[in-house]
Symmetry: D2
């Protein structure tokens, strides 16, 4: 399956949260020469997440991007709890980029702007935001998708945060 990706020359490969500890897959993407976004498992500790990255790095591929997407907790008022503290801790323990997926964390489109701003303010290197031309027609995750207009407005609001002194996005 990885071959199909390579044949079509994809830019980046994403390991989903449910595959964070699929060790055969981690070893496979460790052997190729493409950036890998490693999403955090639903209840993975930071140590387990870093160890999963080691499986990729051990194969020679150091082009790894951590993606925090919320963890499972007792709180069910939202889809997951965005673990904002993971950002400064990962930035301290590795030199790899850390991005945030506010859409899966909150699970509702109206939560995305606040979580996006918090992520950048906490030091995240990027965001992965879900957008759909007409969210109500989306096949999955419709509740959390922004419209193109909403995304454009959000990007405008995020600019000052991304350009704050001492950081570049």
């Amino acid at each position: 399956m990885l071959d199909t990706f390579l044949e079509h020359d994809v830019d980046v490969i994403q390991i989903g949260a449910r595959n964070m500890q699929n060790f055969d897959l981690l070893k496979e993407v460790g052997r190729i020469n493409k950036p890998v976004i490693l999403k955090r498992g639903l209840s993975a500790t930071l140590t387990e997440w870093l160890m999963a990255a080691e499986y990729i790095a051990a194969g020679g591929n150091h082009n790894i991007i951590f993606c925090e997407r919320g963890i499972r907790s007792f709180e069910n008022a939202y889809r997951n709890v965005l673990d904002i503290t993971a950002i400064p801790v990962l930035k301290k323990e590795t030199h790899l980029p850390v991005i945030v997926d506010p859409s899966h964390a909150g699970g509702k489109a109206w939560m995305v702007p606040a979580l996006s701003k918090a992520a950048l303010a906490a030091g995240a290197d990027g965001l992965m935001i879900e957008m759909h031309p007409t969210p109500c027609e989306a096949w999955c995750d419709a509740d959390q998708a922004l419209t193109p207009q909403e995304l454009q407005q959000l990007v405008g609001e995020l600019k000052p945060l991304a350009e704050a002194p001492g950081r570049r996005l």
Copy 2:
């Protein structure tokens, strides 16, 4: 005990996380005319937190400030998991102010700046930050206290966030 506070004319009364569901205490502070900071219980849901505030409000005191201070989770790389999503959700469901205690959430002084910025960016109305003239001599929570110099620098860095368009601190 509440009488002692009133005699000495304290400005604000704080209900600690372990007393969030001490219903007798909640009813007592509901009868007085002082602002009450209601810290979230270690594993309280948003619904339970809002219900605790209702106990205070039922007595006539609507001067309630919610304080998010981190929740308990499986992750033990830090003291608690700061639940940043609670800020926009509470701001939507009530008109009461929401502040954040980044010191108890992270448990380490070096985490405080990133968490403080994230809290303001997510819409928090204020911060409660621990400071000590010489943290290493503090009787408790020494690891999480900032020095006066660190606090001063942080306040400078927080200013642009607090003055962002559409918000006032």
Copy 3:
């Protein structure tokens, strides 16, 4: 309030889960000469629970009974997750009795028999089971109360477990 209990000569005093870390109350019951049932807090670790018991014991009252009543988790198919492992661990770390409240753990009457049997089989010294003459008329916790007939039948089923070799109830 404790005085009222003592005047009426109650047999045992129960500290509820939400008061497990009400340290003033723990010190108070430490000074009296009555058995104290110390329920585990909703998200209290075993260490915190043992430390809470130390507050009571420090005052001179060593007549302490631990009561496991379920902990909070991500699973919301039942009220709480009965932490059955806490029984052998506490029995190993202290010489104090450990009982179980299967009613609050499961939250449904039909779960009580299985949880009661599991508790005794794991080494619990006793059970605290909710019963109501007509559960559907109970003012609170109606879903989890057994009828007198159900309780009688359960006690019969529990007998062989309670009389297993090497244990006494």
Copy 4:
């Protein structure tokens, strides 16, 4: 890989906890004619676990055995929290057998007897216990393996529970 298993005529296939939501794998084992032990994911809800079984059943293989092996929680005094309540709930919602892995749940050999008894008393249809001729030489999970002598003694102690009226193992 599945082919290798089939060529060598294995008796049963186990889906590990980290693969509970590896949907491609679930569909694969759904197409074969062998019993499948489906271990619960570290933080999988009962609903997610039942849905994972549906992926197998949809392919025609209804020979599914649920295996509870402990869930992740805030408590780190043991490896995982054995969710004993899952047994009666699964027995009520499906007609499929439910077994328990007390070794991975507790993580320590001395916890295995108490957890095994609790599992049978709660209605489990079987146990999966780790044993090693000389545990201290085991390559992995050494702390939780019983010696052959310990296992033999435990089996003797479990017999009365397995032969209790109204159940068969």
